[in-house]
């Protein structure tokens, strides 16, 4: 073989090996948890797995979420914001009853992101869907577009916000997957409360991380998405639906 060709093949092999190994290096870094000063990474995808057979009358997740994020009611259920709610189901034919917590599903192809005219509704690289309140003009198109009714519009002036969770009148909001906790290596408040005081139905983790509990459970056990027919690839998966 021509020595130049040999050299070329050698470089090619080295480059291929480097390309194959490079993501591996990054993954090792991530396994040690991302520091808050780093940007969110596409290699991670945060998600929830909820086993609704363990949900009963309990609403620890709802209370914890609204406490953590400073979401207070004003005695006006039609306009008060709700980041998470318990939905009660009853089969029309058989009468079989179930209950489940429903929040922003953090879709991979979020309709709310597609429709936002200013790009305020956006998906972070690690899969968390958020509203940039600095750019939100309060048009409520995303509230119309969400198939899960997950978004709320803030109908009145807000005071006494939590320091980590800014919220204000005239913008739209929804479950942030407790992004302020997640970025510091924590878990969402709903999951924490469920595991402490509730039915231990909720699990949180990195769906892309093969060593994560949530990834392994999703691989071993059946699970489903709400409105799987829309092909949104939600980050929140349910068992027992």
């Amino acid at each position: 073989m021509n020595p130049d060709r040999r050299e070329f093949l050698g470089w090619g092999a080295a480059a291929a090996a480097g390309a194959a190994l490079a993501p591996g290096f990054r993954l090792i870094e991530l396994a040690q948890a991302r520091s808050p000063q780093e940007a969110a990474s596409k290699l991670q995808r945060w998600g929830l797995l909820i086993d609704i057979t363990r949900c009963g009358e309990c609403d620890a997740c709802v209370t914890a979420c609204h406490e953590e994020n400073g979401v207070t009611g004003h005695g006006r259920p039609e306009t008060d914001a709700q980041w998470i709610r318990k939905v009660n189901l009853r089969d029309k034919r058989t009468g079989y009853a179930q209950t489940l917590p429903l929040m922003c599903q953090h879709c991979e192809h979020p309709p709310c992101v597609d429709v936002c005219p200013t790009g305020a509704s956006f998906k972070r690289d690690d899969g968390i869907v958020l509203v940039d309140k600095h750019t939100c003009i309060g048009c409520r198109y995303c509230v119309l577009a969400c198939p899960y009714g997950a978004r709320s519009f803030i109908h009145e002036a807000v005071s006494g916000q939590k320091a980590d969770v800014p919220r204000g009148k005239g913008t739209v909001e929804s479950c942030t997957l407790c992004v302020h906790r997640v970025d510091r290596g924590g878990t969402p408040a709903c999951v924490e409360a469920c595991n402490k005081d509730g039915g231990k139905a909720m699990a949180f983790g990195d769906l892309n991380d093969a060593s994560a509990e949530i990834h392994r459970r999703l691989k071993r056990e059946p699970s489903s998405q709400i409105r799987a027919d829309l092909a949104l690839n939600t980050g929140v998966r349910y068992q027992g639906l």
Partner: protein, 396 residues
């Protein structure tokens, strides 16, 4: 054919000032309503987390859709070369601008953060049809203004055909975009349909022409300018065709849904069990907005019948948009097939909505703004021909 002479209206009579005064009062009420909603937050309105677009949006969408449709008359003149419509082209262009202004004013003032309009005009997410619409609406102003200029400026008259064609295509894209705001949504059973874009186009033809007829008749009557029967006959027939076409699209939409088992629930809601929405659909949209105008337009040759028909089309159009926009939001989202659903966030039930005074004031204020701008413009520039009397039948 003799060249048409245009002249500004006098605009010095007591009647004119009374009209402006009344419209001004309505505009002030609308501004007051907008301030009240923005200052206190939207909890003071009838809108909620289930019904986020209410009466202001019904009026705004009506005005915006009509704005694009009212340009039809000018398009028929410039693009399709019908000489009879040429004297009407300037008024048609003017109404396109003023109706759009009224509609956009309502839309912007209802935003949660209207002071962020600059943000909306500088940050675009081009995957959003709404963003495209913002771009198309503001561009429409430039396009129609240019078109009007080619009509006003004698030296530019030769360019009015290409300008008219450009405006025609632009407003077709714009109205398709407006219909697609709803058509592109998978989240609501009432919307998710490709049919909504052409439906909005044909609605724009119908509503726009109805408004044009009323404004033309009122303007000529109140300024003593002759308005011949030939013109009105053409407009009468055209309006009848458009009204029939809207009825056809609505019929096809519902008949298709009735055939599909999955859509039976929502059809039952709109056509039978939806309370106010059912009433507005049959009585408002179909009867007053469709059947009554057809009877009036093709059954009678009188001017009064034409004006009444146009007014009915407008009322029916508002009812149609109320059923589509608000009824479409009131119907629950179907996340769990074959299940009864209940929650603290009003899942699974028809959402409640009652229009509030600030919302109605804002919507009506937008209409008043459009009409006031039209009246003032007619006084400032020669939009209206001196005479639209019938020409001797030597040439068409």
């Amino acid at each position: 054919m003799a060249s048409v002479q245009y002249r500004e209206i006098d605009g010095r009579s007591g009647g004119f000032y009374a009209l402006l005064g009344m419209l001004g009062a309505l505009i002030l009420a609308g501004l007051g309503g907008a301030w009240f909603m923005e200052h206190n937050g939207h909890y003071v309105t009838g809108m909620s987390n289930r019904i986020v677009w209410g009466v202001p949006h019904v009026f705004a969408i009506f005005l915006i859709v009509a704005a694009s449709g009212v340009l039809n008359v000018a398009s028929i003149a410039s693009v399709f070369g019908r000489d009879l419509y040429k004297p009407l082209a300037r008024l048609s262009g003017l109404l396109a601008l003023t109706l759009l202004a009224g509609g956009l004013a309502v839309l912007v003032l209802d935003l949660g953060r209207p002071e962020r309009l600059i943000v909306a005009m500088t940050h675009y997410n081009f995957k959003s049809i709404f963003a495209w619409n913002i771009f198309l609406y503001t561009g429409f102003y430039a396009v129609v203004a240019l078109y009007l200029w080619t009509m006003f400026e004698r030296r530019m008259n030769d360019y009015s055909k290409p300008a008219g064609l450009f405006a025609f295509v632009w407003r077709l894209v714009l109205t398709t975009g407006t219909g697609s705001i709803f058509g592109f949504l998978v989240a609501r059973e009432a919307f998710n349909s490709a049919l909504l874009a052409p439906l909005f186009i044909i609605m724009s033809f119908s509503f726009g022409l109805a408004i044009f007829v009323l404004v033309l008749m009122a303007a000529c009557r109140w300024t003593g300018r002759p308005l011949g029967d030939v013109v009105l006959k053409r407009l009468r027939n055209l309006l009848g065709v458009f009204v029939a076409a809207v009825l056809y699209f609505v019929a096809v939409h519902h008949l298709t849904n009735l055939y599909i088992a999955r859509q039976h629930e929502i059809e039952r809601f709109f056509l039978w069990e939806g309370g106010i929405y059912t009433a507005l659909f049959w009585l408002g949209q179909v009867l007053v907005g469709g059947i009554v105008p057809l009877v009036l337009l093709f059954g009678s040759a009188s001017r009064r019948a034409l004006a009444a028909a146009a007014a009915c089309v407008i009322v029916g159009g508002l009812a149609q948009l109320y059923v589509l926009v608000i009824g479409g939001q009131a119907y629950p989202q179907l996340m769990f097939p074959e299940k009864e659903v209940a929650s603290s966030f009003f899942d699974g039930v028809v959402a409640h909505y009652a229009p509030s005074l600030p919302e109605v004031a804002l919507g009506v204020g937008g209409v008043a703004l459009a009409l006031a701008l039209t009246a003032v413009a007619l006084k400032v520039l020669p939009f209206l021909p001196r005479s639209l009397a019938d020409v001797e039948p030597a040439n068409a």
